[in-house]
């Protein structure tokens, strides 16, 4: 059984990132878009962990960054969901196409 190397992990993380980007750009549902953002963030987390483990095994920087990102992602999700709920209250929909007020 072959031990997974750096490239495998980077491949997974890249695939995860572009899945997230694709989801963010194509889905119209705001909740799904939020989930896509979580995917993007987690692909970044994977990158940090992988680089930390394979390139600087003796140090903890990557781990700390990952922990921070997880914390911030939680906070961001809370804020985003609050925004989505308010949007829903005002327009009875969470379709992103209905939220065009940003241009004003």
């Amino acid at each position: 059984m072959m031990e997974p190397g750096l490239y495998h992990i980077l491949f997974i993380s890249t695939a995860l990132f572009f899945t997230g980007v694709l989801g963010f750009l194509t889905r119209r549902n705001l909740i799904t878009m939020l989930m896509s953002i979580e995917l993007i963030l987690n692909s970044v987390n994977l990158n940090f962990i992988a680089f930390n483990k394979y390139i600087w095994p003796g140090r903890m920087d990557g781990l700390f960054f990952t922990l921070f990102i997880i914390a911030i992602a939680a906070a961001e999700a809370a804020v985003a969901i609050a925004i989505i709920i308010n949007l829903y209250r005002s327009s009875q929909s969470i379709d992103v196409n209905n939220a065009e007020d940003l241009k004003y």
């Binding site: 980007v21 963010f24 750009l25 878009m33 992103v96 939220a99 065009e100 007020d101 940003l102 241009k103």
Partner: protein
């Protein structure tokens, strides 16, 4: 010593009237405006009279020479220690004489207008403008500084503009006021450049300093100015000639006279005040004020002044013989008489007996103000009565308007130079001065004086004789001659026109301030008086009764009569030069350049901004996902650039 407060009050009282009536006249004062204006002017006329008495008989003379005083001088704009524009008052024989003329004629016109302009809708405005004009004219007369004079010069120009265009609902009046303003403005450009040249070389705007520095041939200023030449003439000659152009424009000298006949569109008392007695002689006054410079330093310019004056005098006299509008005849007569004053200055020289022309010019200015204002006010009374300016609508009025008839006759005799009326004395002096220095101008002046008598009595006979009594429409005869306020000025001015000649003018006004003995030679006076009488008799023969003699004479003169009737086509020439030449060669290309190049550049920047923003405004759609695509695209682009291109 002169009392600065009294003298300063002379121009300031009319100014107060202008401000008061201009601000509150139409709403609050209304019909009282005339009385307020007249009362203020009466005050300033009395002060002027007092000043004149004080100056001529009490303190003015030191060792037999009239001195120049500057009782007040305020630095208004200081450019450097030596060079500043001041506001000052100057008191010398000619300014005091002008004070008298301006305040007296202005007072007469104020009183007369109480009757003439009664019931006019803009009555208070009219008096406000009269006040403004009187203030500016007095300021011009009293100016101690050439720049101050220029300021007031423009102020009289603007008040003349306002008053010519007083009936602003009449298109011809509007056109006339614009014409007067543009023509004189054009001439004033020359005045301004002349001021700059003279004061550049003399290093001062002040009349006293400027004259002192420019009249001594040894001074550095004159040497510098003579050394710098342009087109073969020295800078001083150019400066003096340009200043004269300004004076010629204001004084309606040929060929800048075209505005004066049209200016008759204004109310008749205004014509009497501005376009006969005071403003139009500002040019003469200007030349007299700078006379030492003209006569000592630039005699060539003085010669030009003489010839311009003589040519204007005779051309205007010829045109006046053919005009049919009574005010236009008087306008050309004014131009002719100012021509007299101009060439009298032109043939004069500085100091002693040779300065007779200067004295004569000022004397003629004085007497002319009297009889020409009288003629205009008389014409006003006639126009008031028949409601027309055309001579053919008048005739046989001597019984209907007895006082007007009598005073008009006095004025006609005065201007025709019949002794012992005022015009005789001043004209004799002018002719004598011309005879002593320039024979050609003397002959022109002599012929002109004959023509003057002819056209004035043509006017007189056509208005007051000619037709039988009953030929007037009864509708016009309702209000009679015009009441006391209109007759009083006529009578007072008639006294002036009859008696002003007996003033020994040479004792008061001369080039160097010393008294000038005026001699009368009976044999010399014979020719002009005989010519004048011949002119009167010719007019009597042709116009005393309605007949076809004038028409036959006009037909036999043919082309000459036609040319004179059309004012020698000078207006047409101006129109040709401006409309055909200047508009096509300068105006249109400039307008094209402005519309296409200048405006084009502006429109280009504007339009391209609009185009660009039209293009990019769609980027801001409000769709989050679109933003994200742009963001991603940009990041990918940058990544490609950083990785593969800018390595």
């Amino acid at each position: 010593m002169p009392n600065a407060t009294n003298i300063a009050l002379i121009p300031l009282l009319p100014l107060a009237g202008f401000i008061l009536l201009g601000l509150f006249g139409r709403k609050y004062i209304k019909n009282g405006a005339g009385l307020i204006g007249t009362a203020l002017l009466l005050g300033s006329a009395l002060l002027a009279l007092y000043t004149a008495y004080d100056y001529f008989f009490v303190y003015g003379k030191v060792d037999g020479v009239y001195q120049q005083f500057v009782p007040l001088k305020i630095t208004w704009l200081a450019f450097s220690k030596e060079l500043s524009i001041d506001m000052g008052l100057v008191i010398d024989p000619i300014s005091v004489m002008m004070l008298l003329v301006v305040t007296f004629v202005s007072l007469m016109v104020h009183i007369y207008s109480l009757g003439y302009m009664k019931g006019e809708e803009r009555f208070p405005t009219y008096y406000a403008f009269l006040g403004l004009f009187t203030f500016s004219m007095l300021g011009l007369v009293l100016a101690s500084n050439i720049f101050q004079m220029y300021i007031f010069w423009e102020l009289v120009g603007v008040s003349s503009f306002l008053l010519i265009g007083f009936y602003y609902d009449k298109p011809s009046a509007v056109a006339a006021s614009k014409k007067a303003f543009i023509v004189t403005r054009f001439a004033d450009l020359g005045f301004l450049v002349g001021i700059l040249i003279l004061s550049y070389f003399s290093g001062s705007f002040d009349f006293q300093t400027l004259i002192a520095r420019l009249t001594s041939p040894e001074s550095n200023e004159v040497k510098n100015a003579v050394a710098s030449t342009f087109l073969g003439a020295s800078a001083l000659t150019w400066g003096a000639a340009l200043i004269f152009i300004g004076g010629a424009g204001k004084s309606a000298m040929f060929p800048l006279h075209i505005w004066l006949p049209d200016a008759m569109e204004g109310p008749t008392p205004v014509s009497a005040l501005i376009h006969a007695a005071t403003m139009v002689v500002a040019g003469v006054y200007l030349v007299a004020r700078l006379f030492p410079v003209f006569s000592v330093t630039t005699p060539a310019v003085l010669e030009i002044i003489g010839w311009v004056g003589a040519v204007s005098a005779i051309i205007a006299a010829v045109i006046a013989c053919t005009q049919t509008d009574i005010k236009r005849v008087l306008a050309y007569s004014t131009m002719s008489q100012i021509g007299y004053m101009m060439f009298a200055l032109g043939v004069s020289s500085y100091g002693g007996e040779a300065g007779l022309g200067y004295t004569a010019s000022m004397f003629h200015l004085f007497t002319h103000a009297m009889f020409k204002a009288l003629l205009f006010l008389g014409a006003g009374a006639v126009i008031h009565y028949v409601h027309s300016n055309e001579m053919k609508d008048m005739g046989g009025l001597r019984k209907k308007l007895p006082i007007t008839h009598f005073t008009f006759l006095v004025a006609c005799l005065a201007i025709a130079g019949v002794p012992p009326f005022a015009g005789f004395f001043s004209k004799e002096e002018i002719l004598l001065a011309a005879y002593n220095s320039n024979t050609a101008i003397y002959w022109i002046a002599l012929i002109t004086s004959g023509l003057t008598a002819f056209y004035m009595f043509r006017l007189y006979f056509t208005i007051f004789w000619n037709k039988a009594q009953g030929e007037h429409s009864a509708a016009a005869n309702k209000h009679g001659e015009g009441g006391l306020v209109m007759m009083l000025p006529l009578v007072l001015l008639a006294v002036g026109a009859a008696g002003a000649g007996f003033i020994p003018f040479g004792e008061f006004v001369s080039t160097d301030g010393k008294a000038l003995e005026s001699h009368f030679h009976l044999s010399f006076s014979l020719a002009p008086v005989a010519l004048g009488l011949a002119g009167i008799l010719a007019a009597l023969w042709m116009y005393a009764k309605a007949n076809d003699k004038p028409a036959r004479l006009a037909a036999s003169l043919g082309g000459l009569y036609k040319a004179a009737y059309h004012k020698f086509y000078i207006d047409e020439l101006y129109l040709f030069i401006t409309k055909k030449v200047l508009f096509n060669l300068v105006g249109r290309p400039a307008a094209w350049f402005d519309r296409n190049i200048v405006d084009g550049l502006m429109n280009l920047t504007g339009n391209s901004t609009v185009l660009v923003s039209e293009g990019i405004k769609k980027f801001q759609s409000g769709k989050v996902q679109q933003y994200a695509i742009f963001f991603l695209g940009a990041v990918v682009l940058l990544a490609v650039l950083f990785i593969y291109v800018w390595r």
